[in-house]
Symmetry: C2
Subunit: 683 residues, 2 copies
């Protein structure tokens, strides 16, 4: 029976999932689209502006190159979408780029992709939140006046939300995303109608400004370089496209086909919105500059430091709908919300990738366990910390952060597509069916073109952005790469060390007898329980052991022992320095020295308590003793718990923690039962 306090939660996030209900949570396309596409779709909120911004360096005249750059971005988007449609067919398991690179190009390429993706998740948070704050700021001035503060507050809120474990739900994504998409389409349509049919002159708020070119009259190589830089910035529209390839298992069947369709839909929507906004920006004479304070000229004077440059999407909306109108505010709100959702996807993606990496022993094993709250939390906090640092350092300026953003994406695109080419080559070697061969050859061509094009963009991005901040992203990648390599090396070393030799296991049964020792400090219920349990275990020898720290207490213990007639011999160890650990360790070592074929089993009565501070008051000596005993060969340590009343509290807390559902489970899909083997209870 659900508690009363559960009701609002149930309403908000739906019934808690039972494992047998997993099937119901598979996503139909209409939900999968917003769940996976909030990141790439939201990037049209900033990508068009970045193109104009870079072009402005060469002055207003350079703006007329923007349709060409838009065209290049469109071609790139179609290439990438086409390529990834091959991926989802070939790798329906949801490993994404990491799996593709790892399988086809080897672990180093896989790890490079993983490092790139981890850096990218951090940047997704930083860029999306910063851009969201800027969009929100176009409607609410306070927000833009305290950009860094607001961005950090939103990151902290998102973090708390994810730590609490608000489960991702499809409709949470669907509503704002569809409002955003619809809003942008209405804006484009209404703008086109007003401009073409009504012949209105729509003016962006910045239409009257002049732009002071930082480098007037660029030509030749310098112009090409600038255009390439503008193109690189426009490529920000492609971030997040790979998300669907990680999420294939979450789709309804036929999974791969549905995922591919969703990819195509997403690509089509993104491209239309991107071009539409660029087109409207040109039509309404939007003016943006990299350094607005000095380079935007209003009435012959620079606008100065106090000027806030609104995002292109909100300037266009102001021109089309009118500043401050209902539609304007709704679109600004929807844009900000979609950008925050895009950031939220990184909160799910980061730990999920972490769990895959943990499976391959590049990260601590415990991250592998899905839905493990503690492991998940560590990932979340790491992600949030890094994002806050970036937002802080770069003043929540999306333009500056985007310089770092695109490297990781294109490293991952390029390696993944190269891997796909290898994949087809390998399959073509064995495939005989001509129809299938034709299909594969076609796929290979698409992926090869994808690899070539994204590789080219990667070179362009590196060349044009390295000094502008891309080096920071590369440094981050190197740090992840080195750390994960070191962890893997450690695990491999340990695996070698503990690999079982090929003898029969019975040869390991070196000890022949067990001597049980129950540690006793006082005669109370925990001790009596430990004694009773120890007796049950039929050891070859059983004795109780107490350390004489206080002669009076020891005397009382002995008297009580005899009075109760406990039929286990009680041994008292002297301890002139009132230590507990040393005498016990030395006693155990002596036992082992005297009879090396005896194993020693030490029973320690432990209090189970409810509050953290109670831990400080109990069990500390026992814990330390246990730590030392584990270093002594031939010793086992058994904790015999005694549950104090206060432990009920901790039990409840632990149960609650266990029932927690990890965010991101919707987009990852359920574990395939019997994917490789029907693994029921058996043997």
């Amino acid at each position: 029976m659900p508690k009363l306090t559960d009701v609002p939660k149930r309403i908000l996030i739906g019934r808690a999932l039972r494992s047998d209900k997993l099937g119901e949570t598979l996503l139909p396309k209409r939900i999968a689209l917003p769940v996976f596409a909030s990141d790439p779709l939201s990037s049209v909120a900033y990508a068009p502006g970045e193109v104009l911004l870079v072009l402005s360096i060469a002055g207003l005249s350079a703006y007329h190159f923007s349709p060409w750059i838009a065209l290049a971005v469109v071609v790139l988007m179609f290439t990438v979408v086409a390529s990834y449609r091959q991926n989802v067919h070939a790798y329906p398991s949801g490993g994404g780029d990491y799996e593709v690179a790892n399988t086809n190009l080897g672990p180093k390429a896989g790890l490079t992709v993983a490092s790139a993706l981890l850096v990218d998740y951090v940047l997704t948070v930083a860029v999306s939140i910063s851009s969201g704050v800027e969009n929100l700021g176009s409607a609410i001035p306070f927000v833009v006046e305290n950009k860094v503060l607001c961005a950090i507050v939103i990151i902290v809120l998102l973090t708390l939300m994810n730590l609490r474990g608000v489960k991702e739900s499809g409709s949470l994504f669907a509503i704002p995303t569809y409002i955003f998409v619809a809003g942008v389409f209405i804006m484009i349509a209404w703008g086109a109608y007003r401009g073409i049919v009504l012949g209105d002159t729509m003016m962006a708020p910045t239409a009257d400004f002049e732009i002071k070119p930082e480098h007037a009259g660029l030509s030749g190589f310098a112009l090409v370089f600038l255009l390439l830089r503008a193109f690189s910035s426009g490529c920000a529209a492609l971030t997040g496209v790979e998300a669907i390839s990680n999420g294939v298992p979450a789709f309804r069947k036929p999974k791969s086909k549905n995922a591919a369709t969703t990819l195509a839909l997403m690509g089509g929507l993104a491209v239309t919105m991107f071009c539409g906004i660029i087109f409207l920006a040109m039509a309404t004479d939007v003016r943006m500059a990299e350094n607005p304070a000095t380079d935007l000229i209003s009435n012959g004077k620079p606008v100065g430091e106090s000027y806030v440059q609104d995002p292109v999407i909100s300037q266009v909306a102001a021109a089309v709908f009118g500043d401050g109108t209902f539609f304007f505010v709704v679109l600004a709100a929807a844009t900000a919300l979609v950008l925050f959702l895009a950031a939220n996807t990184a909160y799910n993606g980061f730990p999920l990738l972490g769990s895959i990496l943990a499976q391959d022993r590049y990260l601590p094993r415990q991250l592998h366990t899905r839905g493990d709250r503690l492991a998940f939390s560590n990932g979340i906090v790491l992600l949030a910390g890094a994002a806050i640092l970036l937002v802080w350092v770069y003043g929540a300026d999306s333009t500056k952060l985007i310089q770092l953003y695109i490297v990781g994406v294109f490293v991952s695109f390029t390696l993944s597509q190269t891997g796909m080419v290898r994949h087809w080559n390998r399959h073509l070697k064995t495939e005989k069916d001509p129809a299938k061969r034709r299909h594969m050859i076609r796929s290979r061509a698409i992926n090869a073109f994808g690899a070539f094009f994204t590789g080219l963009v990667l070179v362009v991005v590196l060349a044009t952005k390295f000094t502008h901040g891309a080096w920071v992203a590369l440094l981050g990648m190197v740090i992840f790469y080195v750390t994960m390599t070191a962890i893997r090396r450690h695990y491999d070393g340990v695996a070698d060390e503990i690999a079982a030799a090929e003898e029969r296991p019975d040869e390991y049964v070196r000890p022949s007898r067990v001597r049980s020792v129950v540690l006793v400090s006082k005669l109370h219920k925990p001790t009596l329980r430990a004694l009773a349990y120890a007796k049950l275990m039929h050891a070859d020898e059983l004795e109780a052991l107490s350390v004489n720290v206080d002669p009076a207490e020891t005397k009382a213990l002995k008297a009580e022992w005899e009075r109760r007639g406990i039929n286990v011999p009680l041994k008292i160890l002297d301890s002139p320095y009132r230590e507990i650990t040393r005498p016990v360790i030395e006693y155990v070592k002596n036992v082992r020295r005297d009879s090396p074929r005896d194993a020693v089993m030490v029973y320690i009565p432990e209090y189970v308590v409810g509050h953290w501070y109670e831990h400080l008051l109990h069990n500390q000596s026992a814990l330390r003793l246990k730590g030392r005993l584990l270093f002594t060969p031939g010793v086992m340590v058994t904790s015999v718990p005694y549950q104090l009343r206060s432990s009920e509290l901790a039990k409840k807390r632990a149960r609650k923690r266990q029932e927690w559902n990890a965010p991101g489970s919707v987009r990852r899909g359920p574990v395939e039962k019997g994917a490789k083997e029907p693994a029921g209870k058996s043997n």
Copy 2:
């Protein structure tokens, strides 16, 4: 054979102590005096100055009251020394004021004394270091210009030294203390010789200054109040007198007699030095003011903020020996060193008192263990943190800190002496021998006068200093008191809960059979060892348990299990969410539900590793599982350790930690073997 690197350590602090060598470490009087008296003797470095400082409030004319105040301090000192000589005879066990108050006045009085002493230890550090820095500053200007920084650096150094475990050694204390005492006596003698025999006019550096009285022409009640305040400040000379009564067990036999003699010696030295310095200060026209910047007038103008008021001892030394002369510098250095040693005594006293309080369950039990490095470290860090905070807040100004200092000492004095009166009353009820009765009545009279006098001083101190800072000390005492009461209440509650009922212990043997479960993830050496050990234990049932987190791995495990022909049934638990904890807990619960009289023993193979970061990479799932299992009734958890190669490192570290000697062991003396019972290995 000692390692080469041990040689310097051996030279510095002597051979490591073995418990059978404890007898050798008992202190002769000539060493006990400096070990215990560095705190009270060093206080003559600041106490005389404080008297002059307070008197200056009423102007220069009030200085002529200073001999009378010195006389009052002398009388008080003799009273306190005489009283404590009774204590060391009556309580040779070293419990000190806490034991006396606890035994005779009940636990609340005992706890009050303990709180007062704990606060006092913190203030000993803060005051002594600040004063030491001021004395050092009279020779090295840099030090006094960066007082707070220097004081904090010295506290940090002392802390590190004590954390590392530099053992207290008698000669470490003896040399600087004797140099300091000798230096002060030479100064007094040389000053008297120059003044009386040679008829020199000795001038302190401040002799030419005028003092602007803050309240000129005080009379009546106001004057009395000021004199009482000056007396309170002079009482700073008495801090630390009780140290000897805590250290009786460290003395050679006859312990009590030697301790009493040392007390008398210490009192005589302190009084002579205190009076000598006051006398020289008067003779050399030392001028001190509470606010030197405004109240000291040089050539008709205030000396201003840049003026640094040197301690009275260094002003006198400058007058007698000449500023910057060899003797001057030696005395300044010895003074600073003795003050730092006085601070160091608090580093030993604080954890030692903590261990006594832990024995009475006012503090966590593990502090009880003597020489436990971890417990000791916590005390040290708490002490250092509080002292640094005080030094920071009060700008390392010894004058301001002394306002807080004296309350705790006199709370402890008064309660201890009152307790002694009760002690004698109790003994007089039963004692028949007239000679002994006479002796007791005399002792009671001394203690009664001591209680009355110190109680009076306590009232004076509270009345004159409460608003000047004594409230901070009282607040600190309340915090300690409340915390310790809460801890005691918790322990008492738990003790009630776990108290064994009066049935025969066999009635607790509720479970009748044991079902052993070995947790298995892979078949490697740690697993094989756990299986082998589990087999040794002759449980009624034995099975291996694995959680199917990855179907491929599970399949491999089953195949390997069969290939090796392991004759233990392997059970696989499904885990659709890739959890480990939940399926195991539910399995164990089901076992208990099906057969409630079965106990379940869970064997967990554990890796023993060497570095802290390796802990992050191993055992995390096992630890968490263990934590949850302990909440399940009827379950025991056995760790079967597998020592990885890297564990050797941690083993060495642990051994080193074990051989560490707690600072303060010299002054506490060895544990009395068989103090209450000859507790050899027996039964």
